[in-house]
Amino acid sequence: MIAIQPSAPSSAASTYRPSIMATRQAVVSGHYLASQVGFQILEAGGNAVDAGCAVGMATGVLESQFVGVAGIAPILFYLADRNEVLTVGGTGVWPRKASCAFFQKNYGGEIPIGIQASVVPPAPGAWILALREYGTKSFEEVAAPAIRLARDGFPMYPFLQKIIREQEPNTRRWESNTAVYLPGGRVPEIGSIFRQTDIAKTLQYLADEEKAHSSRGRKAGLQAAWDAFYKGDIASTIDRYYRENGGLLTREDMAAFSLEFEPPCRGQYEGIDVYTSGPWGQGPSLLQALNLLKGYDLKAMGHNSIDYVHTLTETIKLVAADREAYFGDPKFIDVPMEALLSKAYADERRKMIRPDTAWPDMPEAGRVKGANWPTAAEKAAGRRAPVGGVDVPAQPAERDLASMDTSYFCVMDRHGNVFSATPSDGILKGPIVPGTGILPALRGMCSWADPDHPSSVAPGKRPRTTMGPALAIRDGEMVMPFGTPGSDVQLQTMLQVLMNIVHFGMDPQLAIEAPRFASYSFPNSFSPHTSYPGRLNLESRIARDVGDALAARGHKVEWWPERAWPAGSACAILKDVRTGVMTAGADFRRTAYAIGS
């Protein structure tokens, strides 16, 4: 078992938040009210799936700057009675009119921030699918808190206000956004009631449709809610707005949308099974990183020591190269996952980690048998080998508006079921479709307008996202959902949190609060896929001389403040299976909050 060590006796507070311990149930989410929503559903007898769907929708209201009710919703489930892990790849698919050629012709090969980047919004479908198969409550019951928070409002909080203030000029581009985020033409004051009545109406419409069909049973009701979104008035409204404004998404795309459960990817580390999403997200990169790290005695290196930070950073760069070269929607491309996750491959790749020299940029991807290498003819025609990392701009861009979103939450119920989800796609970055309160996920920005890229644009294809909800299980000992927002930093944050727990005896709260670092030395998942060769950001709680030594090894060290919000906002619930005690941690870098009893 992972031994959690008591902190050394000292009069200093050990963490800034208590480790929330629970014996029945626990919820951690990005906002205290969302955690409360999940907790209330659990107290009312709901299971983790019911609570998870409720938290997911409430998050779309409470953190609408980061998460859309019509955003994406990748979910990982653990079903305790079946001892089974499942995922819903809730990341949405490209409309039929989308193509690489379209973006090359109209946008110089970039995927712009705008409705052209919209995919079919998967979140409502993901919640409904989860409820239908593994939940116990109706859509109306789990949507009620989100509806109330949207209709009656909630107190504006500093972090949301800060984002609204930063995005004010962008928001003013669209009347529908201005009406929501700048009521009365001004940035709302902290503590004022912030309402999103159109979101409430949209969710209420789904609930009403469900009710109208509930005489035919729970599943029929849920189907009616699905149809209300994907085939009814909402789809029509979106269709009309997108046609008038040059979007690609149509009501036919919406109507044709379907979602299914998929098996997760699984890796092993120190006797722990780690489960993540498939290669439609960056989950498998975490597993690859763990494979690479098996060759090191990280504990002996010392936490956040020079060698430790260097080794993890180089590991991240190597897995980023493979992500760039191979990851994409597995329904469209052949991702050689088995080979990429094999021990032999990791042993080979590990040789590229040089103990005292940093890769100045992203290393080459590994050569994997079965990978889609170009034929000689294709090569002659200019098709690249899957190496990635070619788009290095001369000028580092400002922080990407598009990549600045996402939330994460996890729920564990009294039966041991787990819901681990990383919803995303806030509605500040594009036009809210008038009358609906929603913005169909702009997730297309995680594609490439390059037919040779594994995450190329293609009708019906899922963009390869950064989402990586995860779950760690050591049989009979521990179950731990964990995750974070943070775009390309997600995987890096999750890796560090996991190492803190596995190797350094930290409990989840301490593991989450520990100083973090992140590499930006690979193409951003979001268009224009900017890369910052060699850049390594360190929170300034990491010792100055560690940073200096890393710079001497070739890392382009940049200092974050002590707590940097781009370093993610991790949440985790670690359950000791033998005692049943759950210990939850919530990141102090943002507004995450844990509740458990």
Binding site: A12, S14, R17, Q36, E43, P155, P561, F588
Partner: protein, 582 residues
């Protein structure tokens, strides 16, 4: 990428429109929240949290201990304090301790005073609540019976106090049932305490047919006259204690009108001279007319003025304050404009009082000069882990603007557990003075003078604000600083709570041995070293705490705007305090 700090605070200011709870432990907050959601008012919820605190923080508080509480009932516009500390037994006199123990009050059974918490919780329910004892005790009973996961702060105190268990085997069998320290996450059960609480609930139920009041009275009698009282008396007899069945049966906590001052346009209410209420209110009054914002937050000048104001307040506490039913405390004279102005004038801009300043000179008064006990005053003893602060704090504001503000204390762990009950009879005799001339001298029926001081500030009809902290001598100092941070410096509740704090130790502590460290000023290391150097030059003996020091108090603060309904809560990151609202 622009470097960016995360959120401005380590935790969000929790904001809610319906109701908000902030307590010392997240499960206590949930217990209170559940009661509010079930339709209970702030008092019902506050008592639920208080009882839960007695279980979850039995290292810091006890069901047999003290629980000073302030309640505001909005519909009646009524504000009261429940003078939350028990009284000395009839047989306890200064002479008794002078003759037998050379004026010392030995550790253990002779320090017992009547348990106050049960009467306070029940009286609060009776007069300002709506629910039964059994209903509000449900969570506490479950936490005691089924246990809760052992957590790091509890364990740290347990490791420290465990040394005393040899002399108190009944305490050892509760806290170290297998003779060793539990591990973090181990389920910690207090079965006897669960039975005691359940017994009160059962007695209430069996009398419930005669109405809610009769039920509550039965619960009270179960404790003070029934089986619990019998067990307490048996232990007293066996161990040579002074408390009798009569002492217990006649005890009722004092319900009093709180002290009130004006601060700007706020009414600020503090508890009476049986605690450090007057100290806190005097310091606030002194500081109201000092332009602290102009000095800059936590500048040397700011810290100097705060520390000196607190020292001046402490000098008057030492000279004048005690149980007002027994000593004449000149509160009006101490807190009136003239005296406050004189006290303010006693602050020297560039020089610290090297020790505790002299008390207020009041006409016709000759206060007993305090002379430090040579065995008590050492620097070392003040820092000793023996002086680990006890106490918790909790507050609730409900949808109607009712407020519950309470500072339970008196850890079950700190004395001999009464066999079979899971409680320790209040050890607040540890606040004893055996010099009969001392205003806080012990005596039959007298309340020891304690440090806890739950507060409420308000602008009638517009806002209410409970504010409090544990922390012994630091408690009031933390309150003053957080109050100023929020009210004068305009910080959000969470930021006000988190801002770096200081504490003076330049007066005798309330608890035996009344340790005293002349001139000492502790500061959290987030305050710049230069500020410390400047204060040193003024004569403060600066001692550095870590960046976030858990003995610097654990403040909870709720600011409720009664016009918009918005409630904003801050919970201290220095300990396990947690805010929950909706």
């Amino acid at each position: 990428m622009k470097p960016e700090q995360g959120t401005a605070t380590y935790r969000p200011t929790v904001m809610a429109h319906r109701h908000l709870v902030c307590t010392g432990h997240y499960w206590s907050s949930l217990a209170a929240f559940e009661i509010l959601e079930a339709g209970g008012n702030a008092v019902d919820a506050g008592v639920a949290a208080g009882l839960a605190t007695n279980v979850l923080e039995s290292e810091f508080t006890g069901f047999g201990g003290v629980a000073p509480t302030m309640i505001y009932r909005a519909d009646r516009d009524e504000i009261v304090t429940l003078g939350g500390v028990g009284v000395w037994p009839q047989a306890a006199t200064c002479a008794y301790f002078q003759e037998r123990y050379k004026g010392k009050v030995p550790d253990g059974i002779l320090r017992t005073v009547t348990p106050a918490a049960p009467d306070i919780w029940i009286t609060a329910l009776e007069r300002w609540g709506t629910m039964s004892f059994g209903d509000v005790a449900k969570s506490a009973i479950r936490f005691a019976r089924d246990g809760f996961p052992m957590y790091d702060m509890f364990l740290e105190v347990l490791a420290d106090k465990g040394k005393a268990f040899k002399k108190w085997p009944t305490t050892g069998s509760v806290f170290m049932p297998d003779g060793r320290l539990p591990a973090i996450g181990d389920t910690f059960v207090q079965a006897d305490l669960a039975r005691t609480l359940q017994y009160l609930a059962d007695e209430e139920k069996s009398h419930a047919k005669n109405g809610r009041a009769a039920g509550l009275a039965a619960a009270r009698d179960a404790f003070y006259k029934g089986d619990v009282a019998k067990a307490i008396v048996r232990q007293q007899v066996e161990q040579g204690g002074l408390m009798t069945a009569d002492d217990l049966a006649r005890f009722r906590a004092d319900v009093e009108t709180p002290l009130r001052i004006r601060f700007g346009d706020l009414d600020v209410y503090g508890c009476g001279p049986w605690c450090q209420g007057p100290l806190v209110l005097a310091a606030l009054r002194i500081l109201e007319k000092v332009d602290l914002p102009a000095m800059g937050h936590n500048s040397a000048a700011h810290i100097h003025h705060v520390a000196e104001a607190l020292k001046l307040g402490a000098a008057d506490r030492e000279a004048y304050c005690g149980d007002p039913k027994f000593v004449d405390v000149p509160l009006d004279e101490l807190l009136n404009d003239a005296n406050i102005a004189a006290r303010r004038a006693a602050i020297r801009k560039d020089r610290a009082w090297p020790e505790m300043p002299p008390p207020s000179a009041l006409a016709g008064r000759a206060p007993v000069a305090w002379t430090p006990d040579p065995s008590a005053g050492s620097e070392a003893s003040a820092l000793d882990r023996e002086a680990i602060p006890e106490t918790s704090y909790l507050c609730v504001v409900d949808g109607k603007g009712n407020v519950f503000s309470s500072t339970p204390s008196d850890g079950t762990i700190s004395g001999p557990v009464v066999p079979g009950t899971g409680i320790t009879t209040s050890m607040w005799g540890s606040r004893a003075y055996t010099d009969p001339r001392h205003p806080a001298a012990l005596g039959p029926g007298r309340r020891p003078r304690m440090s806890a001081n739950p507060m409420i500030a308000m602008r009638k009809g517009e806002m209410v604000m409970p504010l409090g902290s544990p922390g012994s001598e630091v408690l009031g100092q933390a309150q003053v600083q957080v109050f100023l941070n929020h009210v004068l410096f305009g910080m959000e509740p969470q930021a006000a709570v988190e801002a770096p704090r200081v504490a003076s130790y330049s007066w005798p502590g309330s608890a035996l041995p009344h340790s005293y460290s002349p001139g000492r000023l502790n500061m959290e290391a987030r305050i710049p070293a230069e500020t410390g150097a400047e204060l040193e030059r003024m004569g403060h003996k600066v001692a550095w705490w870590p960046r976030l020091e858990w003995t610097a108090g654990s403040v909870c603060l709720i600011h409720a705007d009664l016009r918009t309904g918005l409630k904003r809560g801050g919970a201290d990151p220095r300990r396990t305090a947690y805010a929950i609202g909706w």
